[in-house]
Amino acid sequence: MVAELGHFALIVALVVAAVQATVPLIGAARGADDWVAVARPAAGIQFLMAAVAFFALMYCFVQSDFSVATVFQSSHSLKPLLYKVTGVWGNHEGSLLLWILILTGFGAAVATFGTNLPPALAARVLSVQAMVGVGFLAFILFTSNPFERIFPAPAEGRGLNPLLQDPGLAIHPPFLYLGYVGFSMAFSFAVAALIEGRVDPAWARWVRPWTLAAWCFLTIGISLGSWWAYYELGWGGFWFWDPVENASFMPWLAGTALLHSAIVVERRDTLKAWTILLAILTFSLSLLGTFIVRSGVLTSVHAFATDPARGLFILGFLVVAIGGSLALFAVRAPALRPGGLFAPVSREGALVLNNILLATACATVLLGTLYPLILDAISGEKVSVGPPFFQATFVPLMLPLLAAMAVGPLLPWKRGDLRGALERLRFTFIFAGFTGLAVYALVEPRSAAATGGVALAAWLVLGGILPLYERTLRGGVSGAAARLAALPRSAIGMSLAHAGVGLVVLGLTVLLTWQTEKDQVMRVGETMDVAGYTLTLRGVASVAGPNYVAQRATFDVAKGGEVVMRLAPEKRSYVDSPQVTTEAAIEPTWLGDLYVVVGDADGNGGYAIRGYFKPFVHWLWIGAAVMVAGGLVSLSDRRHRVGAPAARRTRETGALAGAASGATE
């Protein structure tokens, strides 16, 4: 009964979305206010229906109603309640439903909070958002119904992959989706602007907070996923350049570029066509990611159960959504006249450089991800593009970006003074160089690459907070707090986010240069030395968990002859599943993580043990957290809350009135 209610709610949502996708759009073109007025309530109803469907499915999971195929496939009555709930999006159908819930949620948010948007723009944005909704609702209803019944109902479910029974993994998909789908707002605003034929600073002021919020969510989602891979997969890696990881990384790169180019539109009223294109591309890459994960065109450890019919449907949707919006872009972009001019050395110029490098990096990742597919399609040859390709292409693109990152914010708009900016950075440069040299002199084994990396990290962190320092502390300690409070939040956010990137660079450099790995067959009583720690295997015992049997190895860890801690990595075999998971024992210290994994027994009383020391690995997550904090602080900026002042809009419409479609003003 509840399942049917959910199914029915989805059908209602599809019908409402179809209305919302057409009526307000026509109304905006014809100046019919009552048609335009349909948009807001429709967005609300769509969200309500999606929520009913989502919670109906959640109810079926919590009740363990195995007559619902999705529940049967991915749940089990013995599973802890938390994982019954998170199991809702641990499968293709349910995750799609979550996607739709978030998509309609963003639409409803625009309808609710966008009261100061011009009604015609709001109507067009909501119509475009509803078009995306129609695509996804039709996809779920016609190819992936989450409420399908099976008869007779099985007595027990098939459980969830035990790898997925983990808090880190359970919560990271919602964040990723909030990120992916959040970019749909930028997309809808971009397409609406193309239809109107007008982009102005007010438009950018509207798009930026949505993009920034989506970027924060995506950053959290990617970091959580990476952190999960690090502690759960058991080989100490945190990023594998897997197609599905790339699928989340590409929108992140494009979204980062979009954040920056939207600043130029907002402040200087230029770079409009490019910003619109980026907004379309960012969401297109999110859609492409969905296609890659769910169609089976690329092999990945993350892929959902795949089905060619679904692949075909999504491909058709991609062609309509991306192809349609890019065609619209080709036709309408000439109407977007650039505003302010600027010299190559200027804040605008720096942001253009940022965009070129980020877009190139994104294209590189796209090429590496799709290359196996393209080659297979052309010649039938099977290749896999691995980390070497990405490292060889991605790193050289990032280096100039990172080097320029500290300089850009110091350049004024329109025409900058590079020498002046570099002079302000003199102390930062000296400090960074000194840090690098100190690392070179003091840390064994010596590494020139790491020296450069650490110096770059210091340059980024210090250079990131330099604008803050200049505007607060340099004027004296007294009053610094007051001056900080008076600064625009977006300035503080930028400094934090840039410094966060520096911390990530620091973590990456130290980790990749100085991590140690030991691989050894150990018997009870034997020892292994890892980075100054001596691990003694005390014993291996079988331990029963709630739904698994674990082999738990116990180690005494000594430093300088004294036992400082005890570690107990496990290898778990699950009762209902052939899956074996490794539970690495990870001991965080100030300098890094001691990471121990127990492997197979060799049959003669020995166990394959791997011990790692991962120096500075925590700075990766701290850096990501600081970046997100920067995004959130910037999001709290007053400008974003106030929205677009109406006076500014009318002043700028004159030049573009001829290009604007219809009689909306």
Partner: protein
């Protein structure tokens, strides 16, 4: 309209074509390096209660199917019924019981029926490595000279059985008869 503005659309069109072609491809069908090579030399212990063991010598002199299975493998259960049918037609099927616990494996065969001419237990998966096994189930067709002629990854369904595996078996059988005659 400026032609440069069409670039994104054209690039996307090319990507879309690649994706469309990609949908028809199967990246999981990795060509096996073992096709056309002799089977690895091995001698497996018998499974508990299901003797008498299985070695590379068993595969000489006739066309045979080698099926890698395990009791923990759910897709194996799905394809098992098909092997029972095939066994009734007289084609010899050899079972390589991969990384399984002896009691579970024999209980599984006792419950579902035993289609195998002979089975061997590969508890540690060492022989599986020689066969290039990376997922279970996997199925091989071996000719009378002990050369691997076909490898099928994943569960065999009726379609795969009737369009790929059995035709290969019949083709090899016909060749063997022609050569003998």
């Amino acid at each position: 309209m400026r032609p440069a503005l069409l670039v994104p659309l054209v690039v996307f069109a090319m990507v879309a074509v690649a994706l469309a072609v990609g949908l028809g491809l199967k990246p999981r069908e990795i060509p096996s390096a073992l096709i056309g090579k002799a089977v690895p030399t091995f001698a497996l212990e018998p499974m508990k209660d299901f003797g008498p063991g299985f070695s590379s010598e068993d595969l000489k002199g006739k066309v045979s199917i080698v099926n890698v299975f395990a009791s923990w493998c759910v897709p194996c259960r799905a394809e098992h019924g098909l092997w029972i049918e095939v066994a009734k037609t007289g084609v010899p099927i050899y079972g390589l019981n991969y990384k399984d616990r002896p009691n579970n494996a024999s209980a599984w065969l006792a419950q579902l029926g035993n289609p195998y001419t002979a089975t061997g237990a590969d508890e540690l998966g060492r022989v599986g490595i020689d066969w290039g096994v990376y997922g279970v189930p996997e199925t091989f067709v071996v000719d009378p000279d002990g050369i691997i002629q076909l490898k099928f990854i994943g569960p065999v369904d009726r379609n795969a059985l009737e369009t790929q595996i059995l035709p290969k078996v019949r083709e090899l059988q016909a060749k063997a008869v022609a050569r003998a005659g």
